[in-house]
C-alpha cells in the first residue's frame, strides 16, 4: 500500500511511511464481538513467524488455528496478510473477504481488502470498503490510510472528508500534509494553503515536500513566493521534479539567473545528470543570452538521450536562432524522421532550410507538409509557407496561408504584417490599413520571442510528460 501511495503522491515522501495501519492488532472500535482467548493465543503464536518472514510456517500455524476457529475473522485477516506478503493476491483477497464477511466492521481487514482492490485498479470495489472502514473507526492511522486509499482511487472528496476526520482525531504533520495535498488535488487551493499553514513552525514547515506543495499552491493561487518555495524545496532535496518545477516557475517569472544557479547546483546533486534539468537549464541560459552555455546544456541532454525530441528541438532551435544554420540543420536532420514524429521537428527543419538558402526552399516546403500532416492547426507552419510563397511571387497562395494562420491563432501578429504588405502591394489600402492596425494592436511581437515561447511551451510540455 505504501508503495502505491508513493506512486500516486510523489511529493508525500516520508510522511507516507509514517502512516501504518495496525494490520495485525485489533482495533478496539472495530470489534463487534471480542475474540476468544484461544483465538488470540493462536494469533500470538503465529506473530513471531510473521515477523521473521517465515511465511510457510506462519501460514501453517494460522491454517491450523482456522481449523479450530473456522469463522475467525482475526485469523483470516492474518492469513490474508501472510498471503499478501507472498504476493498471492487472489488468496489474500479471499482471506480478507472472509474476514469482512465474518466480522463486517473489521476495519483492518476492510482496508487491506480495499487496498488490494485499489492495487488491481478495481476502485469500484475499493472505495466503498475504504469509506466503510473510515466510518467505523476513529483511529487516526486507519483513517489516514483509508483517506489516502480513497485519494488513490480518485475519490478526492471522500479522501478529504476521511483525512479531515483523521486530523480531528490527531492533527499529526503527516495527516495535515496529506489533507492539504488532497485539497490541492481538488483545486481547493486556499483551503489547502491554510491547512498547510497549520503545520507547526520549524522543521515540519521546512521539509522539502511541504515547501514544494506550498510552492505549487502559491502558483495555483497566483500569489508571490511560488518560485522561492519551489526552489527551496529543490535545495532541500535535489529531486528532479522539485527542481524542474522550480526552474519552470523561475523562468516564467524571469528569475533567470537564479534558475541557472539552482539548476546547475541541482544537477550536481543528482547521481546522474537529469535530461529534464539540462533542458530547463539550457532554456534559462538561452533566455539570459548565454548561448554557448545553453548549447552545451542541450547538447549534454541530447547525448544522454538522443531520442529525446525536446532536447533536439531545443538545441536545433537555439542553433537556428543564433544563426548557426549548418549545425542547426545537422541536429534537426539527425532526429527521428519516423512518420509519427512530433510536428515541431519538421517545422523547425523547415525554418532552418528557409533561412539557409533559397535553393533549399523546396525541401523546406516538404518539411512543412510533413509538419502539417502531423498538426494541421499549427499557425506558424502556414505563416512560414506563406513567406516562401510570397518570396516566390505567389501572392494569392501566400495571402491564403497568412489568412489561415491568422484564423488558426487570432493572437498571432505576424501574419497580419504580411497581409498588410500584400494588400498594400495590391493597392487594397483599406484592407492593408486594417491588417496593419490589427498587427500593431497585437503588439507585433518579435518572431524570436514567439518562437522562443513556442519552444519553451513545447519543452515544458515534454518536461511535464
Amino acid at each position: 500500500m505504501t508503495r502505491t501511495m508513493k506512486k500516486l503522491y510523489s511529493m508525500n515522501g516520508i510522511f507516507s511511511g509514517a502512516l501504518i495501519v495496525a494490520s495485525l492488532c485489533p482495533v478496539p472500535a472495530a470489534w463487534a464481538q471480542r475474540p476468544s482467548e484461544a483465538e488470540l493465543k493462536t494469533l500470538s503464536s503465529a506473530l513471531p513467524l510473521i515477523q521473521q518472514q517465515s511465511w510457510s510456517a506462519a501460514e501453517a500455524s494460522l491454517q491450523e488455528g482456522m481449523a479450530s476457529f473456522p469463522h475467525s475473522a482475526l485469523l483470516s485477516n492474518a492469513l490474508g496478510i501472510v498471503y499478501e506478503r507472498q504476493h498471492r493476491q487472489p488468496d489474500a483477497i479471499r482471506a480478507f473477504e472472509q474476514a469482512v464477511e465474518w466480522l463486517p466492521n473489521f476495519t483492518a481487514a476492510q482496508i487491506h481488502l480495499a487496498s488490494l482492490h485499489a492495487e488491481r485498479g478495481e476502485c469500484h470495489r475499493a472505495n466503498p470498503l475504504f469509506l466503510a472502514a473510515a466510518a467505523n473507526t476513529t483511529d487516526e492511522g486507519a483513517l489516514s490510510e483509508a483517506g489516502l486509499g480513497l485519494a488513490e482511487c480518485k475519490n478526492l472528496t471522500g479522501a478529504a472528508q476521511v483525512l479531515e476526520k483523521a486530523r480531528s482525531a490527531s492533527p499529526s504533520p503527516a495527516i495535515i500534509f496529506n489533507l492539504a495535498l488532497v485539497l490541492y488535488k481538488t483545486s481547493e487551493f486556499d483551503a489547502a494553503l491554510s491547512m498547510l499553514e497549520t503545520l507547526p513552525h520549524g522543521p515540519e514547515q521546512e521539509r522539502a515536500e511541504v515547501l514544494y506543495l506550498r510552492g505549487k499552491l502559491l502558483k495555483a493561487l497566483q500569489k508571490p513566493g511560488s518560485a522561492a518555495s519551489l526552489a527551496q524545496a529543490c535545495r532541500q532535496h535535489a529531486q528532479e521534479d522539485y527542481c524542474k518545477d522550480a526552474a519552470v516557475e523561475m523562468i516564467a517569472t524571469e528569475q533567470l539567473t537564479e534558475a541557472v544557479t539552482l539548476l546547475e547546483s541541482a544537477n550536481k546533486g543528482l547521481s546522474a545528470p537529469s535530461v529534464s534539468l539540462l533542458c530547463a537549464l539550457g532554456l534559462a541560459q538561452f533566455r539570459l543570452g548565454r548561448y554557448q552555455a545553453s548549447i552545451r546544456s542541450y547538447s549534454s541532454a541530447l547525448n544522454i538521450d538522443p531520442q529525446l525530441d525536446a532536447a533536439r528541438e531545443g538545441l536545433g532551435f537555439l542553433l537556428y536562432i543564433t544563426g548557426d544554420l549548418e549545425q542547426a540543420r545537422s541536429i534537426v536532420e539527425q532526429g527521428p524522421m519516423r512518420p509519427t514524429v512530433d510536428f515541431y521537428l519538421p517545422y523547425l527543419r523547415a525554418l532552418v532550410l528557409y533561412r539557409t538558402s533559397t535553393a533549399l526552399w523546396p525541401e523546406a516546403l516538404s518539411a512543412l507538409a510533413q509538419s502539417l500532416r502531423s498538426n494541421a492547426n499549427f499557425a506558424a507552419s502556414y505563416f512560414l509557407r506563406g513567406k516562401i510563397d510570397l518570396e516566390q511571387g505567389n501572392e494569392t497562395r501566400a495571402l491564403s496561408d497568412f489568412q489561415n494562420a491568422a484564423k488558426l491563432d487570432p493572437t498571432y501578429p505576424l501574419p497580419y504584417y504580411k497581409m498588410s504588405q500584400i494588400y498594400l502591394r495590391q493597392g487594397r489600402r483599406e484592407e492593408a490599413e486594417k491588417a496593419r492596425k490589427r498587427f500593431a494592436a497585437l503588439g507585433n511581437q518579435r518572431e524570436d520571442e514567439l518562437l522562443a515561447k513556442q519552444a519553451q511551451a513545447l519543452l515544458l510540455t515534454h518536461a511535464s510528460h
Binding site: L256, L288, G289, Q292, R355, K418, N444, R446
Partner: protein
C-alpha cells in the same frame, strides 16, 4: 564570370589584410565622455556619439570631427568635455584644432553630418544634440561659426535629436536638412523613471536606465533650404510626420528605386523603421511596411541603430544594412528592384552576430576587389550589463565580413588584425581614405575611450578610384549624385552621401575598388539636377574630382606614400 584562379588570388589577398588601430600614434587621443562610466542613470549616457570625416580646409585630406557627450554630475567650475576637430596632417598624424576652428562646444552631442548648405565651396557641419542642435558654417579660413538659430535648424531644447543628413529633397540645388529624433525626454530627463523602476528599465534582470520603450518618442524634422542661409521647417508639410511614434536613430539617404529622387531611410529603435519615399512634390510617404524595411522579414520590431547602403550584389539597386540590438541579427535588405526588399541576413551569412549590439554600420570595399564588404562596430549599453553574465558584454569586438560575390559574406574578423578583435564599446563609425592612397581607414567613436582609427597596414591587391563630385547647378558637394563605375567588366553604383552609419559621416568622396582593372572604362555621374555626365578611360588608383557638366576630370592630392603598381 571571373576565372577561378583570379578569384582565389583575391580571396587570399584579402585574407592577408590586417587592420591596426593607429589612433594613438596619429594623435587622436580625446577621450569620449558619456555620463557615468560605472553606473548610468539615463539612456542618454548609453547611446554614445557619432564621428565625422570632413575636409574642412579643402586641402584634399579628410579631417576628423569627433562628437562628444558630457556628464550629469560635472563638478562646478570643471572644464566640460567638448567635441574635437582633428586636422589631417597628411603624414598619418592629426592635430587637434578644435579651439582655433571654433568648435569647442559641449553638451550631449549625438551625431554629425556634412554638407555645403550655402554652396560656397566649403563643407559645413551639423551636429545634433540632446538639446539644441548646432549648424557650423564653414567660413573657409579654417574656422566655423555656429548659426543654427539664425538658420532655423536648432530644433528644440529637451528633445533628443539623433541622426542627420543633408539632402536635396527637391533637387533645387540647395541642400535641405533631415534630422531624426530619438525620444522626447524633456529637460534634464526630469520625468524619466529611475533606473530599474519598470519593465523597460531592466536588461536580463539587471536594473538599467529606462528607455526608449516607455518614453515619449521624438519627432523627425525636415528643414527646407530657402537660400540665404535660412531653412524652413517643413516637417509637417512634407509628410514625414505622418507616421506612428518612432525612436529614430541612424539616417541614410539613398535613391532606392532609381527614380532619380533621394529617399530617406531611418533606423528606429524598438519601433518600425521608416523608408521615406520621395514623392517628387516636396512630400514623402513612409513605405517601410510595403517595402519590407520597417521590420525584419517577419514584421518584428527591432532596435535599429546604424545604417548603410551599397549595391553589394552588383544588381544595380542600393541595398540596406542596418544594425540592431543584441539577441538579434542585423538586417541585410536586398533591394529586389521593384520597390521591395528581402532581408537576406541569414542567407548572406551575417546572422551569427546575436551576442553583438551593433552600432556603426559600413559598406566598404576594403580590399578593393570591386565588391562591397561590411564592417559593423559593436558594444553594449553600459558596464553594468556585464553583471547579467550573458554572452553579450559591454566591450565587444568589431565584425568584418568579406563579400564572397555570390550574395554571401565571410566573417574574417579573426584574421584581419588585432584592431578588429580588440574589445571596445563602439558607437559611431565612418570610413575614409585618409592618405589618399586607396587604403580605407575607419574611425570609431569608442564609449569612454579615445577613438579608434583602423588602418590597413598593407596595400590591398585591388585597384581603386576615389571620386569627389563638385556640383554646379546641383549642390556644391554633389550630395545625392549617383555614380556608376564600369571597370574590369564590373558595373558598380554608389551615391555621394551625407550622414549614415550610426549618427556619423563618412568621406564625401566615393570610393570604388575595381579589382585588377587598371583603368575605369566609364564613369557616369547622374547629378541631382538631372544632368548626366560621362567620362571614360580614367587611370585607376587615384583620387579625382569631377565637376558637373564639365568634360574633364582632374587628379587631386595623391599622397606621397602612395604605392604605385
Amino acid at each position: 564570370m571571373l576565372p577561378t584562379n583570379w578569384l582565389t588570388l583575391f580571396l587570399l589577398g584579402s585574407a592577408a589584410l590586417q587592420f591596426t588601430d593607429v589612433a594613438k600614434q596619429a594623435g587622436l587621443t580625446a577621450r569620449n565622455v558619456s555620463g557615468g562610466e560605472i553606473r548610468k542613470r539615463y539612456i542618454v549616457e548609453m547611446n554614445g556619439s557619432g564621428i565625422a570625416f570632413i575636409d574642412y580646409n579643402k586641402d584634399g585630406l579628410v579631417d576628423l570631427f569627433i562628437v562628444n557627450g558630457t556628464r550629469f554630475d560635472l563638478s562646478p567650475g570643471a572644464a566640460p568635455p567638448t567635441n574635437h576637430l582633428y586636422r589631417n596632417n597628411g603624414d598619418g598624424t592629426f592635430t587637434d584644432v578644435t579651439l582655433e576652428a571654433g568648435l569647442a562646444d559641449f553638451g550631449w552631442g549625438q551625431g554629425a553630418c556634412v554638407g555645403d548648405y550655402d554652396n560656397d565651396g566649403y563643407s559645413d557641419l551639423f551636429v545634433t544634440y540632446y538639446g539644441r542642435n548646432h549648424l557650423y558654417h564653414n567660413k573657409g579660413d579654417g574656422t566655423f561659426v555656429e548659426v543654427s538659430q539664425a538658420a532655423g535648424v536648432a530644433g528644440e531644447s529637451g528633445h533628443w535629436h539623433s541622426g542627420c543628413a543633408f539632402v536635396d529633397t527637391d533637387r533645387d540645388g540647395k541642400l535641405d536638412l533631415f534630422v531624426a529624433s530619438y525620444i522626447d525626454p524633456g529637460p534634464a530627463f526630469a520625468n524619466v523613471p529611475a533606473v530599474g523602476s519598470g519593465e523597460f528599465c531592466q536588461y536580463k534582470g539587471i536594473p538599467i536606465a529606462c528607455g526608449p520603450r516607455g518614453l515619449k518618442p521624438g519627432v523627425n524634422y525636415l528643414f527646407h533650404n530657402e537660400g540665404g542661409g535660412k531653412f524652413k521647417d517643413v516637417s509637417d508639410a512634407s509628410g514625414i510626420r505622418n507616421t506612428d511614434g518612432h525612436y529614430s536613430l541612424g539616417v541614410l539617404t539613398l535613391d532606392f528605386d532609381n527614380d532619380g529622387w533621394p529617399d530617406i531611410y531611418v533606423a528606429c529603435d524598438s519601433t518600425a523603421s521608416i523608408l521615406y519615399h520621395n514623392r517628387r512634390d516636396g512630400t514623402f510617404e513612409d513605405v517601410g511596411l510595403a517595402s519590407g524595411t520597417a521590420f525584419n522579414e517577419d514584421g518584428e520590431p527591432q532596435a535599429g541603430m546604424g545604417v548603410a547602403a551599397a549595391d553589394y550584389g552588383h544588381a544595380g539597386f542600393l541595398d540596406i544594412l542596418k544594425t540592431n540590438f543584441s539577441d538579434d541579427s542585423p538586417n541585410l535588405y536586398r533591394n529586389k528592384g521593384d520597390g521591395t526588399f528581402s532581408d537576406k541576413v541569414f542567407e548572406a551569412g551575417l546572422g551569427r552576430l546575436r551576442s553583438y549590439l551593433g552600432w556603426g554600420a559600413l559598406f566598404l570595399d576594403y580590399d578593393n576587389d570591386g565588391w562591397s564588404d561590411i564592417l559593423i562596430v559593436n558594444g553594449h549599453l553600459s558596464a553594468e550589463i556585464d553583471r547579467a553574465g550573458s554572452d553579450s558584454h559591454f566591450r565587444q569586438p568589431k565584425a568584418l565580413f568579406h563579400n564572397l560575390r555570390n550574395g554571401k559574406f565571410q566573417n574574417v574578423t579573426a584574421n584581419s588584425g588585432p584592431a578588429l578583435t580588440a574589445m571596445h564599446s563602439s558607437r559611431g563609425s565612418a570610413v575614409a581614405d585618409i592618405l589618399n592612397d586607396g587604403r580605407l581607414s575607419v574611425a570609431v567613436n569608442e564609449l569612454h575611450e579615445a577613438p579608434s582609427l583602423l588602418m590597413l597596414q598593407t596595400q590591398p591587391a585591388g585597384h581603386w578610384i576615389g571620386i569627389r563630385t563638385v556640383g554646379v547647378k546641383s549642390n556644391r558637394d554633389g550630395i545625392g549624385a549617383r555614380i556608376e563605375v564600369e571597370a574590369g567588366g564590373m558595373r558598380q553604383i554608389d551615391e555621394v552621401r551625407s550622414g549614415g552609419s550610426y549618427l556619423s559621416q563618412s568621406d564625401l568622396r566615393v570610393h570604388f575598388g575595381v579589382g585588377n582593372a587598371k583603368q575605369i572604362d566609364k564613369l557616369t555621374v547622374k547629378w541631382p539636377s538631372g544632368q548626366v555626365d560621362h567620362w571614360t578611360n580614367i587611370a585607376a588608383d587615384r583620387q579625382i574630382v569631377v565637376t558637373e557638366a564639365s568634360p574633364v576630370w582632374r587628379t587631386v592630392a595623391v599622397f606621397q606614400h602612395y604605392n604605385s603598381r
